[in-house]
Symmetry: C2
Subunit: 434 residues, 2 copies
């Protein structure tokens, strides 16, 4: 019976696995050098946990199931709710500020399309309990620090930054009521993805008053922070938001990544839970979805039953990132090897097979990778296999074994050397090793 | 609203994550030095795929759900079916023999108990298309190679080895029909876990004939391979199975792990799909469940619609392993650090905060980990924090900055040095680095 994989999932054959490992290892290294500790949660949780953060409609966007006790569960579509749950559970025992990262595998019941899969990996970086926007700048730096490490430059990518807090003040100045804001954020967030007409229609649903809607349109045309300041008379909250936003730009310049950032009032983030700085990272040509998005969410821990502790962070998925890296020539399959054999043990005839096995496994026990042929084969065929496996050296076991000697061949230079078995074994630990 | 984690799942706070990384990294290193390449599949697949290998009853042991198209899916309870599917799909393009490993996260709808969780990690190692039992010996070696690398000795653990093929011949010699075998394997596999009476009752259900059942009991009392040979007159198939089994013991001795292995006719493995060598690894005192189990399964790829290609491999879960490592003193929380800060940048007063941020991030951009205080704090408090974070050096930014100088303190020795900023930055790349 032939079975297929589910559409929107991926099979990681060794070459694809090497790509995934390359991406995940880069994420982990960038996290560690920026002082974050790794955590993870379960791959499934109670469904209601996701509904607290994202509303009931999230249920149609995730894979849910019922356990034998009749409880509703879901495969995690994101890890932030888990983070909030875990931090709340141990809030008094954890050293603060909390700087954590994770690389969860996430699943969403979406229609698969370019850069959007039903399961993917997402790098999550969060700082909890730092009120100062220094933390926002630091998580943005961390995302850029990783992207730079892959070879991407400020000519390839841009971090578009805005402030949800500033936007709230701005929308209030235009005449919107507080309870209209969440609905309007969700629409504004879709502007770039929708045809103008569809966007206008959706916005009209949320803002019935033509004058207010027109005013919102004018305000959202601001290109600089100064434009924002000149366009509206903001309240104290709005002024504070603007000075925080300016400080983020100053800090990121100080951190040495000023050329990667720009202000963009159109970066809104759809979810209701953001409260301050928000940002998204795009390819400069803006032909792909955002490669990364995040911001400040100061109320989530409290919404999850914990104390009012502030938080900021981001998520970066592997799917769009891989497309971007390939487009920019920063990721080529031939860059990545799936294995590196140190020694290939070849035999001149079958009588030496036991000695070859003994040697190969003696080498492995010292930590180097040794291979051999599983089938009887001529020496020429074995040497070809050694080459195919990318072995660094071939060890040839033959008649010289009677005098306790082996031939060692450097597969790159072709140089051969006759050495005693003891010399050889003694030298192996140092030569290989990973 | 307070939310709990689902019972039988685990939260990996940084200390638990460090344990998981320690185990998984060890698995990966042992795989690579033994010449295996990493692969992975999707975290959910069509439910029917699992039923092909393990029968319909598996549905109650896994988490299944229906997608919006009405298709039955399941979170993977094991990865071998995925392996068979993936190999079949690319069988003509893959270099053979195929030596692959994976560290999948698996979920099972079990009642949580010691060493058995609803989600866990399992190391899977498989060799495909090597008929010779050299492959069986190699996967057993690989499991032992990993366990040895953790510090476990042959006094701590034992690999119990038998042969399903030999057992089939033995049971046939006792008078069992071929179609009785799968049912009898499932019962014999439970012997050690059941009270004698319950075991006898179950066996009686499968083998109604008292004389045959008695004979099976006698045969299963064999303590050595010679006992088996002496107790029954086997057919050709049985003789071949015994000589394969002897060869596995010889090969493992040749490979240098002879002291870890012993023959055990009681190792049966419950699943129908095993066809040859089978094995399980236990703690010597046998107080825990098996830490590892596997064997040869030559028919699975064909059962999945592929060509008749042979296979052998094993799975090792992280839950029992962690208990074993802790019991034997091979795993202590204090062995593992969740992060290592290279430099802590401290400031003598708030006027230097920008310069400290600039310095810290300049260091991070060179690949070393630098931290600083997020809040105004006295120098003493900052140095205490540097200590708490396990920083190797503290950099103190103060008045000397006017002369372009910094104080660098070695946190271990307490030695302080005044250096120029340029000297310091120049030296950083080499000192840290991971």
């Amino acid at each position: 019976m032939k079975i297929q994989a589910v559409k929107g999932t991926r099979d990681f054959y060794p070459p694809q696995m090497a790509v995934r490992n390359y991406i995940v290892d880069g994420w982990k290294k960038a996290s560690l050098r920026n002082g974050f500790e790794e955590y993870d949660g379960p791959v499934f949780e109670y469904l209601k946990m996701y509904q607290i953060k994202s509303g009931d409609e999230i249920a149609s966007q995730l894979f849910s199931f019922t356990d034998r006790g009749g409880r509703d569960m879901a495969i995690r579509p994101e890890i932030t709710p888990t983070l909030a749950r875990m931090v709340n559970q141990q809030i008094n025992a954890l050293r603060r500020p909390i700087k954590w990262f994770s690389v969860p595998r996430l699943c969403r019941a979406e229609r698969p399309q370019k850069g959007r899969l039903r399961e993917f990996f997402q790098w999550n970086v969060d700082i909890i309990d730092v009120e100062d926007v220094l933390a926002d700048a630091e998580v943005i730096f961390t995302a850029v620090d990783y992207l730079r490490s892959t070879g991407l430059t400020s000519g390839d990518i841009v971090v578009r930054i805005s402030s949800r807090r500033m936007l709230a003040a701005l929308l209030k100045s235009a005449g919107l009521a507080i309870d209209q804001l969440d609905g309007v954020y969700a629409v504004l967030d879709k502007k770039a993805k929708l045809p103008d007409e569809a966007f206008e229609a959706m916005l009209k649903e949320r803002i019935g008053d033509d004058a207010v809607r027109h005013r919102v349109g004018e305000l959202m045309a601001a290109e600089t922070i100064d434009d924002v300041r000149n366009a509206a008379h903001l309240d104290e909250e709005g002024d504070a938001a603007i000075s925080d936003l300016r400080r983020v730009f100053d800090l990121l310049s100080l951190m040495g990544v000023g050329d990667y950032i720009s202000f963009d009032i159109g970066v809104v983030r759809g979810l209701a839970y953001y409260t301050g700085i928000v940002f998204e990272i795009y390819d400069r040509a803006a032909t792909l979805r955002a490669v990364c998005g995040g911001g400040r969410y100061d109320n989530l821990l409290r919404d999850f039953g914990g104390p009012p502790v502030t938080a900021t962070g981001f998520g970066m998925g592997d799917a769009v990132l891989e497309i971007l890296l390939r487009e920019k020539g920063m990721l080529k399959d031939e860059m990545l090897s799936t294995r590196q054999i140190d020694y290939y043990v070849a035999i001149v005839s079958d009588e030496f097979v036991n000695r070859a096995v003994e040697l190969a496994f003696e080498m492995r026990r010292t930590g180097v990778c040794a291979e051999f042929s599983y089938k009887s084969a001529g020496l020429k065929k074995q040497m070809k296999q050694a080459q195919m496996l990318n072995a660094r050296y071939a060890v040839i076991v033959g008649e010289e074994l009677a005098e306790n000697r082996l031939t060692v061949k450097n597969m790159e230079t072709g140089q051969q050397q006759l050495v005693t078995v003891d010399e050889f074994i003694g030298s192996v630990g140092g030569k290989g090793g990973r």
